[in-house]
């Protein structure tokens, strides 16, 4: 549908390159993703062919360093690409996300040997990375994790279970948060990150979890039962640094989620503005009713704001400055916009929007995940407020 996707200006980083890359991804999404997404999503199948295309095009490696098989481009361009992909199918962005988070954390904090061993496979997408903090008793309160890692000669022995692991059934390497010192105070000093490889003895996928939306990437629960991980796989080679390492990666995940949300909101809007000109009631297109026009204007305005906020946050991250506040605001705002727009689009569609015959119901099922994952929006508000109180501290 050249008509709808083409009217939107592309906002990306890296000059002409970023725009061209995004334009090409947009075309691929229009031609290959959108015509197949609904059927694949309803079937619950893993989109193997689309995944192969993404690997072939080099989408996983956009932000990876050129020294390790990436393109060395900006998070701003990455954000534009993730938005386009999610306009087709939000789940695909989740397949990419954990590779990019792992890649960034390994590049920032890993040893040279870890970079050489893990980055090239993650950059091409040939290897699936997972990023696993959450446990049955630790979600928002990430420091409450109970998985332990204790040193045994040249290895660590890991015990515990990890919940809600995106891409968990197909993972090759799991960047996992554990406690090397469960009694440490403050608690985060006892957290260490490991690169757990899939064939580790004692590691197993317990089950995959069915869910409302966000199909495509599966969500798994993992068991670690006396899993023996070589000490070489302790991220960065030192204990007690896992929490800081993880926090730095969450910003990358939040840029991804904010970009996804913008894409889903855009898809919901695109569907609404087309349908509003096709459906007639009371002798005219519903697009001519003011009630519908108000919705369209409101949606488009918020989507543009979400896009600009998200690119702005990505640009801040690219600049190397502290960006938790900017990224948090983008994630919070864009994901709320996605929730609103998917519902508003459904209202514009009337009854047919509630059926499985149009993709609006998928946008509506996909949107809430983004308000919950990568830090709930409640937590996001708390993080934003705490940072503001620091910045505006009155003596």
């Amino acid at each position: 549908m050249a008509g709808v996707s083409d009217v939107r200006e592309i906002i990306a980083g890296d000059g002409e390159t970023g725009v061209e890359i995004t334009r090409n991804v947009r075309r691929w999404v229009d031609e290959q993703v959108i015509p197949n997404a609904t059927e694949l999503e309803h079937s619950g199948e893993f989109p193997a062919r689309i995944h192969a295309d993404m690997c072939e095009m080099g989408i996983f490696g956009i932000t990876f360093p050129e020294s390790h098989g990436g393109l060395g481009l900006s998070f701003e361009t990455y954000s534009a690409v993730i938005e386009e992909i999610s306009r087709g199918w939000m789940g695909l962005a989740g397949i990419i996300n954990t590779n990019v988070i792992d890649g960034w954390i390994i590049d920032e904090h890993g040893t040279q040997e870890q970079k050489d061993r893990f980055l090239p496979g993650l950059a091409t997408g040939e290897k699936q990375g997972c990023f696993t903090i959450t446990e049955p008793n630790a979600g928002s309160d990430a420091q409450a994790i109970r998985t332990t890692a204790s040193r045994d000669a040249d290895d660590y022995i890991l015990n515990g279970n990890k919940l809600f692991v995106t891409n968990g059934d197909r993972g090759d390497v799991y960047l996992a948060m554990t406690k090397t010192d469960p009694s440490a105070q403050p608690r985060h000093r006892g957290i260490s990150a490991f690169l757990v490889e899939k064939d580790t003895p004692g590691f197993s996928v317990a089950r995959t979890i069915d869910k409302l939306g966000y199909k495509g990437p599966e969500t798994a629960e993992l068991f670690l039962e006396d899993a023996r991980v070589p000490a070489d796989n302790l991220l960065g080679g030192s204990e007690g640094r896992g929490f800081q390492q993880m926090i730095s990666g969450l910003e990358i995940g939040r840029i991804n989620v904010a970009s996804r949300a913008t894409g889903v909101a855009q898809a919901a809007f695109d569907a609404a503005i087309v349908y509003a000109q096709q459906r007639e009631t009371m002798g005219q297109q519903i697009a001519q009713h003011q009630a519908i026009q108000l919705k369209l204007a409101e949606m488009a305005t918020k989507i543009r704001a979400a896009r600009l906020l998200t690119r702005d946050a990505a640009r801040k991250k690219d600049s190397g400055q502290r960006s938790d506040l900017d990224v948090g605001m983008a994630k919070l705002f864009a994901t709320e916009v996605a929730l609103e727009c998917s519902l508003e689009s459904m209202r514009v569609h009337g009854g047919v929007g509630y059926t499985k015959e149009l993709p609006v119901e998928r946008f509506y099922r996909d949107a809430p995940l983004m308000a919950v994952a990568e830090g709930t929006n409640e937590i996001q508000r708390i993080v934003i407020a705490r940072r503001l109180l620091e910045l505006y501290k009155v003596e």
């Binding site: 549908m1 050249a2 008509g3 083409d6 334009r23 095009m57 490696g61």
Partner: protein
């Protein structure tokens, strides 16, 4: 094996019909608002064919030539991003308002200027005016054998085996090199550019040639040299009437449809 592909940038054929407008007085197609022009789809397939020839032969270059305004550079960049090696842009106000003949003349001069390669490839037709003549005129001007509307191209030593799409099937023939080929949609989808190649293409210089660079006098090209004269350009109107065939069973409806088609003298 060295290949040159000639590509044209055209208004996006996916443009919704409602956004397609012509200026009848100026006899021009008006660019649709906000919809970027694209490489003609047959030409993207021609680039794909060239890249496959290069891969199969194991060496050589795929170079791209496009005649058109500033924006035609994007069609060249797209071809480079698909994997082509160098791009050449024939850009001169004097080229404006030309026809298939002046385009073919300028292209053939550029090809001679660069050196006639082993294979010259075109799309079967540009998907805007759909004339399908430029490739054949270039073949004639350069005195090269040609095969048009191809669905398959294979290297066979220093010869090329092709399969043509003809009215009642396919025609398989062999050509010596150098030769001219035009590629049809049956050839198959062009590859999506890899992001790395898009990045490299964005950094690559495109060489520009004016009419004078190619030894062409302004009177030979563009509107001045055109041999086709346009008398009118307009959008035909079509009045579509819909008739719903009623019936209680599928059989009744089918019988009603057959009657209606007979009455309309379609059957």
């Amino acid at each position: 094996m060295d290949v040159i592909v000639c590509v044209k940038q055209i208004p996006d054929p996916e443009t919704p019909a409602a956004a397609f407008k012509v200026d009848e007085a100026a006899m021009q197609v008006l660019p649709a608002q906000g919809i970027s022009p694209v490489i003609s789809p047959f030409d993207a397939q021609a680039v794909e064919a060239a890249l496959r020839i290069k891969d199969a032969s194991g060496d050589g270059c795929v170079n791209i030539i496009s005649l058109g305004p500033d924006s035609a550079r994007d069609a060249i960049k797209h071809s480079l991003a698909m994997g082509a090696d160098e791009g050449y842009h024939l850009k001169d106000d004097a080229f404006e308002g030309g026809d298939a003949w002046t385009t073919a003349l300028a292209l053939s001069k550029a090809i001679q200027h660069l050196g006639v390669p082993d294979v010259l490839i075109f799309g079967r037709q540009a998907a805007d005016w759909d004339q399908g003549t430029v490739g054949s005129i270039v073949a004639e001007l350069l005195d090269l054998p040609s095969a048009t509307v191809l669905r398959a191209v294979e290297l066979n030593g220093d010869r090329i085996t092709v399969s043509r799409v003809v009215a009642d099937g396919f025609e398989n023939i062999e050509l010596p090199t150098p030769c001219v080929l035009t590629i049809s949609n049956e050839f198959g989808d062009p590859r999506y550019p890899q992001l790395r190649q898009i990045m490299q293409a964005a950094r690559k210089q495109v060489t520009e040639f004016t009419a004078a660079d190619l030894g062409l006098d302004p009177s030979e090209v563009g509107a001045a040299g055109a041999r086709v004269q346009m008398h009118a350009l307009y959008q035909p109107t079509s009045d579509v009437e819909v008739e719903i065939i009623e019936g209680d069973t599928p059989e009744e409806k089918a019988a009603g449809l057959v009657n209606a088609l007979r009455e309309a003298k379609i059957l």
